[in-house]
C-alpha cells in the first residue's frame, strides 16, 4: 500500500463505518476504510428494514441495487393474534403507495448489496478501501496521533492516523482495545434467528408479533423480502426462557396463529445474531478513538433496529471529525467527547429514553401485564403520531 498516513482509519465497513468514511472524505479528509471480510454484509445478521427517511437523511439514494422490497407500514400483533394495522397507504394515501407521485415508507434491503453499495459510495468519494484486512491493535503516539496495526492477506503492517474509528459491530474488539466498558449483559442481548422463506404471503407491511409465549423478552417478525419471499424470525432474551431461538422459531412457525399461513414455507436462507436491546455505550470515545454503529451500541432498544442509527451516527461522526481535524484541534479524548455530545443531542438522549421505557416493561413481573404493555408500546411506537418517529 503506497500511503501509510491518514486522517482517519476506520475498522469495519458496515453502514456506520462506510457512512463515516464517505462523509469524512467528502469533507476533504484522507480516509482508510478496512474490513476483515472478503464480501461485505455476510453472514447476514439482520432483517434489513430501514426507513426511506433514514436513507435520505444520510444522503443514500434508495437504489434498486440493494432494495428487496418496498414497505408501506406495520402490522403489530399481540400473543392471541389481535392486530393493530398502521398502513400509510391508507393513513396518507396522497403520499404513500406505488402510484405516480407516491413513495414507500421504507425498504427491506439485502445487506450484502447494501453494505457493498455504501462502501462503493465511500470509495467514489475518495476513501481508500481494503477488504480482507483486519485490525490488530492501536496505540496513541507522542505526536498526538496514533499507530494502527493491520493485517492484509497474512501481511502485517502499520499505518498512522489522527483518529481510529471502531465500526466493527456488536463484537467490537476496537472498543475493548481502548479499555472502554463495552460488555453487554446477557439479558440485554436478544438471541435472534430468522429464515428467509418461500411460500409465505406478505403485503408490504413489517409484521411484528409480541407476547411471552412466542418470543419471551423480544418479538417475532414476518417481513417481505422481495421476489415473493419473506423473512420469518424472532429474538428472545435468554434470561426469560430455557429454550434457544431456534426452538422458539419452530414453535412460532408450526403452532402460532400464523400456522396456516406458514404451512407451505420452504427455507431458503438461515441467518441469526445478537441484537442489543440495551442502552448506548456510556463512553464512546478515547484518545484518538471513537466508536460508531453497533460498536457504540447505537441500536434502537425497543425495535432492535440498527441501520438507521448506524447511518445517522456515521453522518455525525464524519462531519464531527472533519470539523475537529480541519480546525487543527487535537484528537484527544477531551475533544472527541464532542462527538458523543453531538450524537446524544441529535438522537442518543431519545435512545436513552426508549431504553428506560423498555426496561420498565420488562421489570414488570406479571406476564399478562407485560405482554399488554409491550403490545401497546410497539403499536404506539410505529404510529404516525409517535414522538420517536425518526429515531
Amino acid at each position: 500500500m503506497p500511503t501509510t498516513s491518514f486522517d482517519i482509519v476506520i475498522i469495519g465497513s458496515g453502514p456506520a463505518g462506510a457512512t463515516t468514511a464517505r462523509v469524512a472524505a467528502e469533507r476533504g479528509l484522507k480516509v482508510l476504510l478496512v474490513d476483515k471480510r472478503q464480501e461485505l454484509g455476510a453472514p447476514i445478521q439482520c432483517s434489513g428494514a430501514v426507513s426511506r427517511h433514514a436513507l435520505e437523511a444520510a444522503g443514500v439514494d434508495p437504489n434498486q441495487e440493494f432494495i428487496q422490497e418496498a414497505i408501506y407500514g406495520f402490522g403489530i400483533y399481540n400473543q392471541a393474534g389481535e392486530k393493530t394495522t398502521i398502513d400509510y397507504r391508507q393513513i396518507k394515501p396522497d403520499e404513500y403507495g406505488q402510484g405516480e407521485g407516491q413513495l414507500p415508507l421504507g425498504y427491506v434491503v439485502d445487506r450484502r448489496r447494501f453494505d457493498r453499495y455504501l462502501m462503493t459510495q465511500a470509495e467514489r468519494a475518495g476513501v481508500e478501501v481494503q477488504l480482507k484486512t483486519e485490525g490488530l491493535g492501536y496505540q496513541s503516539t507522542t505526536n498526538g496521533g496514533c499507530a494502527v496495526q493491520l493485517r492484509h492477506f497474512n501481511k502485517t503492517f502499520e499505518v498512522k492516523a489522527k483518529v481510529l474509528v471502531g465500526a466493527d459491530g456488536l463484537q467490537s474488539q476496537v472498543g475493548k482495545w481502548a479499555g472502554l466498558q463495552t460488555h453487554i449483559k446477557l439479558k440485554e442481548l436478544a438471541s435472534c434467528l430468522q429464515y428467509v422463506v418461500d411460500g409465505v404471503q406478505t403485503n408490504g407491511l413489517l409484521e411484528i408479533i409480541t407476547g411471552q409465549h412466542w418470543a419471551p423478552g423480544g418479538y417475532a417478525w414476518v417481513f417481505p423480502k422481495g421476489h415473493g419471499y419473506a423473512e420469518i424470525g424472532l429474538g428472545v432474551a435468554r434470561n426469560m426462557t430455557r429454550h434457544d431461538a431456534q426452538w422458539h422459531l419452530e414453535q412460532f412457525i408450526l403452532h402460532s396463529f400464523f400456522k396456516d399461513r406458514f404451512k407451505n414455507y420452504r427455507i431458503l436462507e438461515i441467518q441469526g445474531g445478537g441484537v442489543p436491546l440495551a442502552a448506548p455505550l456510556k463512553t464512546q470515545y478515547a484518545d484518538n478513538l471513537i466508536l460508531v454503529g453497533d460498536a457504540a451500541r447505537h441500536v434502537n432498544p425497543i425495535t432492535g433496529g440498527g441501520i438507521h442509527t448506524a447511518l445517522h451516527g456515521g453522518l455525525i461522526a464524519g462531519n464531527f471529525l472533519a470539523d475537529l481535524l480541519q480546525s487543527g484541534q487535537k484528537p484527544n479524548k477531551q475533544n472527541l467527547k464532542g462527538y458523543q455530545d453531538q450524537w446524544l443531542e441529535a438522537s442518543g438522549n431519545a435512545m436513552w429514553k426508549l431504553y428506560r421505557e423498555k426496561t420498565a416493561i420488562f421489570r414488570n413481573k406479571d406476564i399478562a401485564q407485560r405482554d399488554d404493555l409491550l403490545y401497546k408500546t410497539m403499536s404506539d411506537y410505529f404510529s404516525p403520531y409517535s414522538e420517536y418517529k425518526k429515531i
Binding site: P43, L170, Q171, I184, L186, L189, L193, D244, Q271, G272
Partner: protein
C-alpha cells in the same frame, strides 16, 4: 461467590451460523475469539459465566471443565 472452575468451549461447527452473538456477550479482554466470528475454542476460560452458551441461537456451544467433565448449563 466461590470462584468458578475454568472451562474449555467447543463449537459444533455444523450448526454454527457465525453470527458473533457469543463474542458480543463475552466479558473477556480483546482476542478471546476465533477467526470464524466465535469465542475462542481449545483455550481455557477462567471467567466461566456461560453467557456465550446461553446466547447462541442454535445452541452449538458446549464446554468441558478443564478437569474434563462435560456439563449442561441449563441443568
Amino acid at each position: 461467590m466461590p470462584k468458578k472452575e475454568p472451562v474449555v468451549f467447543q463449537i459444533g461447527w455444523n450448526a454454527c451460523i457465525h453470527c458473533g452473538a457469543c463474542i458480543a456477550v463475552c466479558p473477556h479482554k480483546p482476542g478471546f475469539i476465533t477467526a470464524f466470528d466465535t469465542i475462542a475454542v481449545n483455550t481455557p476460560c477462567d471467567i466461566a459465566c456461560m453467557a456465550c452458551e446461553a446466547i447462541c441461537p442454535v445452541s452449538t456451544i458446549t464446554h468441558q471443565q478443564v478437569s474434563g467433565q462435560k456439563q449442561d448449563i441449563w441443568s
